[in-house]
């Protein structure tokens, strides 16, 4: 990773340009490879420019939560593996890793893209537990969007496991039924630097940001809808800036969705 002085990043952006030559609202190149981990029920490796993450879905049988006896469970986790950045340390997830996981989780959950009622096997007793774990392998900025793309791509390729006579997952058999996922929910992240709004911040831009806003969007009946938001950074945003970002998110979300089939 080449370190760039945040002050330089800010100066360049003030002139309406970016250090890597992208337009202010431009995303880096996206590439997605699915089914890269045979032991997982679904998986995807996503590259967003030089950022690389790997998501794996594991599906198991478990007991439902007391307040939702007829609903399956969806859980997203993120691991900032120390090989991904000199800034990452081993140990339990820090607040940034927790935030990435919860923001990615929120977009999928709130869009109701996975019908948790359909993940119920026997009410109060047995439900499907869907775990999405994202390993960050190379951090070059905007881990939320990369993780969101990977989580969705992995979920959309996941196959439901087969149960044996005891009602447990039969690991010798490969499932063929896909996990039903609709609406393709994705997170899109924008940052404010000075008075400019830019999309898909690189590492250097993440270090220079004033404020960040991540917006989750998905498709419903042919329309783009919002399903989640999360502000970050230690400075405020005005109502107009939020409005600008939300409209950009609708547009960029639709563009990113084209990468997910």
């Amino acid at each position: 990773m080449i370190e760039i002085d945040p002050l330089l990043v800010r100066e360049v952006i003030e002139d309406g340009k970016r250090v890597d030559g992208r337009p202010l609202d431009g995303y880096r190149e996206v590439s997605i490879e699915t089914n890269v981990v045979p032991s997982a029920e679904g998986s995807a490796r996503v590259r967003l420019g030089d950022t690389e993450v790997l998501a794996g879905v594991k599906i198991d049988v478990g007991t439902p939560f007391g307040d939702t006896p007829d609903e399956g469970v969806l859980m997203v986790g993120t691991e900032f593996v120390p090989l991904a950045s000199p800034e990452f340390e081993s140990g339990p997830p820090g607040e940034e890793a927790v935030e990435v996981a919860r923001v990615v989780d929120r977009a999928i959950r709130e869009s109701k893209s996975i019908d948790v009622k359909k993940l119920c096997i026997t009410p109060k007793e047995k439900v499907w537990m869907v775990y999405v774990d994202v390993d960050v392998l190379d951090d070059n900025g905007n881990l939320i969007d990369a993780s969101s793309l990977a989580a969705l791509a992995a979920l959309m390729t996941a196959k439901m496991p087969v149960l044996n006579e005891d009602g447990r997952v039969d690991h010798d058999k490969k499932g063929t039924e896909p996990l039903p996922v609709t609406g393709r929910p994705l997170c899109t992240t924008f940052v404010k630097i000075g008075d400019k709004i830019i999309a898909d911040p690189s590492s250097a831009e993440m270090h220079a940001l004033d404020a960040r806003l991540t917006v989750g969007t998905f498709e419903k009946d042919g329309h783009v809808k919002l399903c989640s938001m999360q502000k970050g950074g230690s400075m405020g945003l005005t109502l107009d800036e939020i409005d600008t970002i939300v409209k950009l998110a609708e547009q960029k979300g639709a563009e990113l969705r084209k990468h997910i089939k």
Binding site: D67, E95, R102, L226, K231, G236, L237, L239, I242, K247
Partner: protein
């Protein structure tokens, strides 16, 4: 949703669509902390205590040019219907972080290099909007600690119940409503320093919901100022 949460513009708890729950705010409620405050919004109660500026432990967190602001949001085990497991959770880690980001623009951190300002928020009773109530208490506690600040921060949430846009979602509206959007507002700069959203909407509607939340924050701001003034009354000059 069989239960009718809104009837003729009146909500299930009797409030109007754009009405906050009753507010209670008091500063200087703890003896040990350098500054403290209690804030209530209906049945949601939080207490905040501030320590510092003080020496930084562990030392490696120290910053040469400025103070560091540390925030800890915690919910008491008895604050919810079902016992809430004590200790840090993924949820409380996230809320502690967004609370810190919401408060940071306020504080003149450059004035106190190599120190830490610690803000501890304890939710004693939870009925929705606990992060907002915690932020309201924290802003008052920072002021009570005598820490130089640019303004106060006020926080509340707005949401959607059925097709209605409502202020300060609570009770059944929280569990059965369609959308919850907490905001923290920096009145002097007219900036939003915390913004989160759970639920489905579109770009036009979300603007209205944010505006409604800001209106609620402005009302809370007045109550916060009143609470500060009632402790720090200027004596009339002879």
């Amino acid at each position: 949703m069989e239960l009718e949460l809104i009837k003729n513009g009146t909500r299930i708890d009797g409030r109007k669509l754009d009405e906050l729950r009753p507010i209670y705010a008091a500063v200087g409620v703890l003896k040990n902390a350098n500054g403290s405050a209690m804030f209530k919004l209906g049945n949601t109660t939080a207490i905040a205590g501030v320590f510092g500026p003080r020496k930084v432990f562990p030392k490696h967190q120290e910053e040469a040019e400025r103070a560091i602001l540390r925030t800890k949001y915690n919910m008491a085990p008895f604050a919810t219907t079902e016992r809430n497991r004590p200790g840090t959770s993924r949820r409380s880690t996230e809320i502690s972080m967004v609370t810190r980001q919401a408060l940071t623009p306020l504080v003149f951190l450059d004035e106190f290099p190599k120190t830490a300002i610690d803000v501890h928020i304890e939710v004693l009773q939870a009925d929705a909007s606990t992060r907002c109530v915690g932020i309201n208490a924290a802003a008052l506690a920072l002021a009570d600690a005598g820490i130089p600040m640019r303004d106060l921060i006020s926080s509340c949430s707005a949401g959607k119940v059925g097709e209605h846009t409502v202020l300060d979602v609570a009770g059944k509206e929280d569990t059965e409503g369609e959308l919850d959007l907490p905001v923290a507002y920096y009145p002097r700069k007219k900036q939003i320093t915390l913004l989160q959203m759970d639920g489905v909407t579109d770009s036009r509607e979300v603007k209205e919901i944010i505006k409604l939340a800001v209106k609620g924050c402005e009302k809370i701001y007045d109550e916060q100022k009143k609470a500060l003034r009632s402790k720090y009354k200027l004596e009339e000059s002879e």
